[in-house]
């Protein structure tokens, strides 16, 4: 089942066209990897899916993005609800300057009133899903800034999960982390896809090959090729894809 369908999507930053006629679907409970050299529009595409590009001045978007069949750019769409359903994790861990607990509780508080004990449960659950509970349970009231980079990123994942999203967008979530933390997050993603649909940007092709079910290759604003990861890596249809995955450029 397709959870997100993108049709004829074009995006301009002012005069500059960053996405050219993108047609791409995201399937439920799978990991979709977006690969391609730096500056090819991976982040831009990812940010159209939860309308984060709305925050950039001078962005023009046409074409359609449908989430569970609904046009997310329709006039009466409430972006706060959209972003609750489609969560995001950023390249650089960006915990808020507050306690670990408050970081996870921030999202839920925004959307509904909850009793203290319900909130405690939700915070624990979210931290468990992000594989951070064991390390954090004795220091929930400590500043999130006291965590290591890898822990901070898992906290950001917990924070994203706390509002019970449906889709998780991850923009190079491990590129700022050491190999051990990266391995931990990759392992975590295998579990997350049971419950969520994940779209991950990575410029690490081994990572894409290891963890993803489907892969989409972007090049200077074009979607060159997309399909099951095994196919894209072993039998690329396009010469440019082959050049990229065999390391001839990028």
């Amino acid at each position: 089942m397709n959870i997100i369908e993108t049709k004829d999507l074009n995006l301009h930053y002012g005069e500059f066209q960053a996405l050219k006629n993108i047609n791409l679907d995201v399937s439920a409970n799978e990991i979709t990897a977006l690969i391609g050299p730096s500056g090819c529009g991976k982040s831009t595409y990812l940010r159209t899916l939860n309308r984060m590009n709305d925050l950039v001045h001078g962005v023009k978007i046409d074409g359609s993005v449908r989430y569970r069949g609904e046009d997310i750019y329709a006039k009466d769409v409430d972006v706060t609800v959209l972003r609750k359903r489609i969560g995001m994790v950023f390249q650089k861990p960006n915990p808020f300057p507050m306690s670990i607990y408050d970081n996870v509780a921030y999202g839920p508080k925004l959307h509904q009133k909850m009793s203290r004990s319900a909130m405690n449960d939700l915070v624990e659950q979210s931290l468990r899903k992000a594989a951070l509970w064991d390390e954090a349970k004795d220091r929930l009231k400590k500043s999130a800034m006291s965590l290591s980079g890898g822990q901070q990123q898992r906290l950001c994942i917990a924070r994203a999960l706390s509002v019970s999203p449906d889709v998780l967008l991850m923009d190079e979530p491990t590129s700022a982390l050491d190999p051990a933390s990266t391995a931990k997050i990759e392992e975590l993603m295998g579990q997350l896809k049971q419950e969520y649909s994940v779209v991950i940007v990575t410029h690490n092709m081994q990572q894409a090959a290891r963890i993803s079910d489907r892969t989409a290759f972007f090049l200077t604003g074009d979607l060159v090729e997309s399909g099951p990861t095994a196919d894209v890596f072993s039998r690329p249809q396009d010469q440019r894809t082959e050049n990229y995955i065999t390391g001839r450029f990028g």
Binding site: T80, L82, R83, N94, P97
Partner: protein, 295 residues
């Protein structure tokens, strides 16, 4: 073949000619002299004022009002006037100033408008304060028919300190990393909710620092108040009555005691008090910054 030290001697040592060395020593001496002059003038002024003034600060001076019949002098009304002016000005200027800064940093999307407003604020900050006094007098007193009073003085002073508050608040807001905003937007936060829960709390130190700076300006301001707050010397303990009563601030009373009464001792006592207040405020800014930086 590379040699770091040619046969004639080290390339790294002894390269300076005697002339250049003398020049460098001379330059350094001149700089030390400049620093010494600056510091000693500053310390000299502070020392002189405190030396002349501290001895004349008595409990009676601080706790009574001037009495022509008993021929005693007290500056309590002036202390209160300054306090009332500071409070009233803060009540007016803080919401407007912080609101304007939030708008400029977080909401305004038209870069040109923002730059124009910032430029205007820059200009406003450079206008001599007596002109604010004059315009305040013309507008509030002559045009609107208000009487010079604590309220009129505070309204005028609000305009004067607004640029300070807007600028320091903007600076504080700009130190909040963009990634916090993105993170909160991505969770479905609305702009105002994010400002309240993340941006304001994490820029609070800068905003408080700017506010204290503005209080310093208010306490030290005289020219803008001379026309607008009037020269009352009677004790008014009720704040709301005081708002509509003329009242000489400490600075204005300092001026009047020296020029009209020729009372040098009281003048210096007030000067010392003002100096102590301003130095304390400066210290406070440092403490606020340090306390918040720890997080």
């Amino acid at each position: 073949m590379t040699t770091l030290t040619p046969a004639t001697g080290s390339a790294l040592k002894g390269g300076l000619s005697a002339k250049r060395r003398a020049y460098s020593i001379g330059l350094r001496t001149a700089m030390y002299a400049c620093v010494a002059i600056a510091v000693s003038v500053l310390v000299g002024i502070i020392g002189f004022v405190l030396y002349q003034g501290l001895g004349h600060i008595t409990w009676e001076l601080l706790s009574t009002q001037r009495s022509a019949l008993r021929n005693t002098i007290g500056i309590l009304p002036n202390i209160l006037s300054t306090l009332y002016i500071v409070i009233t000005t803060l009540l007016i200027a803080i919401p407007i100033g912080i609101g304007a800064a939030i708008y400029l940093c977080e909401y305004a999307s038209n870069r040109k408008v923002v730059r124009l407003v910032e430029f205007t604020i820059e200009i406003l900050a450079g206008i001599p304060s007596i002109i604010y006094g004059l315009v305040g007098f013309l507008f509030f007193v002559l045009n609107l028919g208000m009487r010079p009073s604590i309220l009129v003085g505070s309204l005028t002073l609000s305009i004067l300190v607004l640029p300070v508050i807007v600028r320091t608040t903007q600076e504080a807001l700009r130190t909040v990393p963009h990634s916090y905003r993105e993170g909160a937007f991505a969770l479905g936060g609305t702009r105002w909710y994010i400002i309240r829960t993340i941006i304001l709390p994490s820029s609070l130190d800068g905003i408080i620092g700017g506010t204290i700076l503005a209080v310093g300006r208010m306490v030290g301001e005289s020219a803008a108040l001379l026309f607008t707050a009037g020269v009352g010397f009677t004790l008014v303990t009720n704040y709301f009555t005081a708002l509509h009563t003329p009242g000489a601030s400490l600075t204005v009373s300092l001026f009047l005691y020296i020029t009209e009464h020729g009372n040098r001792d009281v003048g210096f006592a007030i000067a010392a008090i003002l100096l102590i207040i301003v130095l304390t405020l400066n210290l406070l800014i440092k403490l606020v910054r340090r306390k918040f930086r720890k997080i």
